[in-house]
Symmetry: C2
Subunit: 450 residues, 2 copies
């Protein structure tokens, strides 16, 4: 079956950048006005730590998935103020600040959870250290990328988990911003999806491409004599081979399946059903295909699928799930809700104290404890200045790894394939309750040491 | 008050493109495989009409807002297959199809609802006419842009309506994909928002920029002697002027306000409250400011606002709403759910007939009827080949206007300011029920003539 016709390319050589355009204006104006004020009163040079974390998981979710780290490191390298960027900044900033921006290059350190690592409320997913000036201007870029990609990855992981080993194709490009589409495909692939319909994601990230056919192609073969489903199927097979997937629900599904096998023979790669009661139809189509001797022809289903619909189809003879809208919109949680908070200034822990939005001061580190079976039991977040907490007989793993040192990306960063393996390992490590789709508590508790 | 420091530039000269990079791979793979099959069987040259419409409005919404048309026309001009794009296409396409793509340039016609026009279920928002080949490849690009921008614009219009004339600032960049952020700012501005925090939107679309300050700036001025809110405020005022907006809720709001006026005097531009019960706090802060003689100091509120929270603050002394997450995620409806359907082939109406997803065949036009007071009463969608329906004593307005002719954008397209005026006029034209925030039916019925 050839719904996946594009050769997979996962090598570390694949570029993950957007052509190197400056990312410096993907920034909120207040970051630059704060910078101006801090340069003027000499607080700009204070040594700071900013941390990224999510106060909570969305909608009773039991885990989050860190995604976007690779894209972020690329975007960081392109965070430079050239003439076009300075022209905008000059409308509201003083010459000294403009001079500073002209020379800007992040020179600090960043540690972070690995891309693909699971996270929980309060996990210090990213730790950015440097002067106030060099760190404050990165807030929006960091949050935009991590919030978007992590939201999609979290939804995708639930869908992959619900699919229980069956193939999943991301096909949501049309339901999200055109540039969010390849990033969504990347996050979905990270979380375990097998392929994407998005060609820019194929080009940019080397994700396997996939595609079937649209109703328009069948309708194109209409004539005044009536519907010409057979002509459309014949054309598709001649052009794309017998392994292709035919869309059988344009008119009548039973007739569509009969026509498909009539035209293609029993070696047809697959049929796609995009409407109706997918469970009932999948069974009916499987019986029909088997009766026609097409026992190897796969059934692809699509049409408003989410993790719950995927799970509901577990007992049905479905081979491939095509998922669009709910995937790229985070299945009800289109943003991960992460924040970027100043937690330390010149060695002094700092935190906001007003109602409802308290933060924990001080640079942190984190470990995750697991039983010898691999099942995780607890996350411990502790002051970086303090001692590594005891493991109490469990395995203990450091969650923060060096990503950037003195502004330079640390060599041999994980590939997208590494991140994909990490998500898969993370899902296996969850306690049984953690994989439930229903709303609940985070899969493991997090302890915050002072 | 200078939360808006960037000069507004609305002129038609402002570029609205993303640097002219090719948009050709922002496409689903199946469009190109369908193209290959259609070229092989000579159906590629059939004259087709594809229409964009939404089967329904999300979540009991009463109207939709067309947004993204300007961005779409720019993206269409950049839909060309260069070497990088062809390299990907060559992995799964035959030489003839590659040759065709190399020469591709849309040469057909596009009509559409004006950007900023309201729409309802079934409104034929865009009508794309040409050969099957030249139209089919545009599906994903068209839908990505219109679905994203219209989702944000619809949410934004409800917020602007709820704000009832008070200022609104878009500040959601951190909660959406980094390139969706400037597009979101544009859609929000189209729908009536006054300004954006996003600097790329300022540069690209000439939208007024805005910004206040973050808690990090106050915390930066911490010292071992304690909190230094006064030092932070003084620094901000010295750098940005007395018209700036100070963030007063880092520690204790009452003390924050007192310190702000102590440092700035009663001419302070504004204070921002980002947490707590905003209604109670706004009243309390207003009383405090007035008592200190700062009667002109404005109150900016932010923190998880949506249209309902904005409406709930109507009776409170709030001057400016800063809206983030709910705006850029479409307030519960992150995609507009529009589809791109083949409706006519060589003059023959075509439509899918399978369950639940019926479409109406044939190229359509649409008019909207209004009373002489301007209040709209009905939308009528009718066959383009048929007669314009009678107005029955109402005013009747054509909704589809020419956007592209023989591949060329029709001159003097509306500016973003024109679209903004159209949204404002559209909201005024709604029957009273149409502006209710609660879930309900579309504000006017749509009649479909055969």
């Amino acid at each position: 079956m050839s719904f996946c016709r594009t050769p997979a390319v996962y090598s570390g050589d694949v570029t993950t950048t957007d052509a190197g355009a400056s990312t410096a204006l993907l920034t909120d104006q207040y970051e630059l006005t704060m910078l101006a004020a801090a340069l003027a009163d000499d607080s700009a040079q204070r040594r700071c730590t900013f941390e990224v974390f999510a106060r909570r998981l969305p909608h009773g979710r039991r885990y989050g998935v860190v995604a976007g780290t690779g894209r972020l490191l690329d975007a960081l390298a392109d965070f430079r103020f050239g003439a076009a960027e300075l022209e905008v900044a000059a409308r509201f900033l003083d010459p000294r600040t403009l001079d500073w921006l002209r020379e800007y290059r992040f020179g600090g350190d960043i540690d972070g959870y690995r891309e693909g690592e699971l996270y929980f409320p309060g996990s210090p997913i990213l730790s950015v250290r440097g002067t106030f000036a060099e760190c404050v201007v990165l807030e929006t870029l960091i949050l935009s990328i991590l919030n978007h990609d992590s939201a999609v990855a979290a939804a995708a992981a639930r869908m992959v988990s619900a699919a229980a080993g069956r193939r999943t194709i991301e096909m949501g490009s049309r339901r999200t911003h055109e540039q969010a589409a390849p990033a969504s495909a990347r996050a979905a692939y990270l979380a375990g999806f097998d392929a994407t319909s998005n060609l820019e994601a194929v080009r940019r990230y080397g994700i396997p491409g996939a595609g079937t056919s649209a109703h328009a192609f069948t309708l194109l073969h209409s004539s005044r004599d009536g519907q010409q489903e057979a002509a459309a199927f014949r054309s598709q097979i001649e052009a794309l081979g017998i392994g292709t997937t035919l869309l059988v629900d344009t008119f009548d599904i039973t007739r569509g399946v009969a026509t498909a096998i009539e035209v293609a023979g029993p070696e047809l790669g697959g049929v796609r059903i995009d409407s109706g009661d997918l469970g009932v139809l999948a069974r009916q189509v499987r019986d029909q295909l088997d009766g026609l001797g097409a026992t190897g022809t796969r059934i692809v289903v699509s049409g408003d699928l989410d993790e719950y619909a995927i799970a509901a189809l577990r007992a049905e003879p479905v081979d491939v799930y095509g998922v669009g809208t709910s995937l790229v919109t985070g299945s009800g949680a289109p943003t991960a809700g992460m924040v970027y908070k100043l937690v330390e200034v010149d060695g002094l822990p700092v935190a906001k104290r007003s109602s409802h939005k308290e933060s924990r001061g001080g640079t942190k580190r984190a470990v995750r404890l697991a039983r010898s079976t691999g099942t995780i039991v607890e996350e411990i977040v502790y002051p970086a200045a303090g001692e590594r907490p005891p493991a109490n007989g469990h395995d203990s793993r450091d969650l923060l790894v060096p990503l950037v040192r003195k502004g330079e990306t640390v060599g041999d960063l994980p590939t997208l394939a590494d991140g994909r393996a990490l998500v898969a390992a993370g899902l296996v490590s969850l306690p049984w309750e953690g994989l439930k789709l229903s709303a609940g508590e985070p899969a493991i508790p997090t302890t915050f040491l002072q």
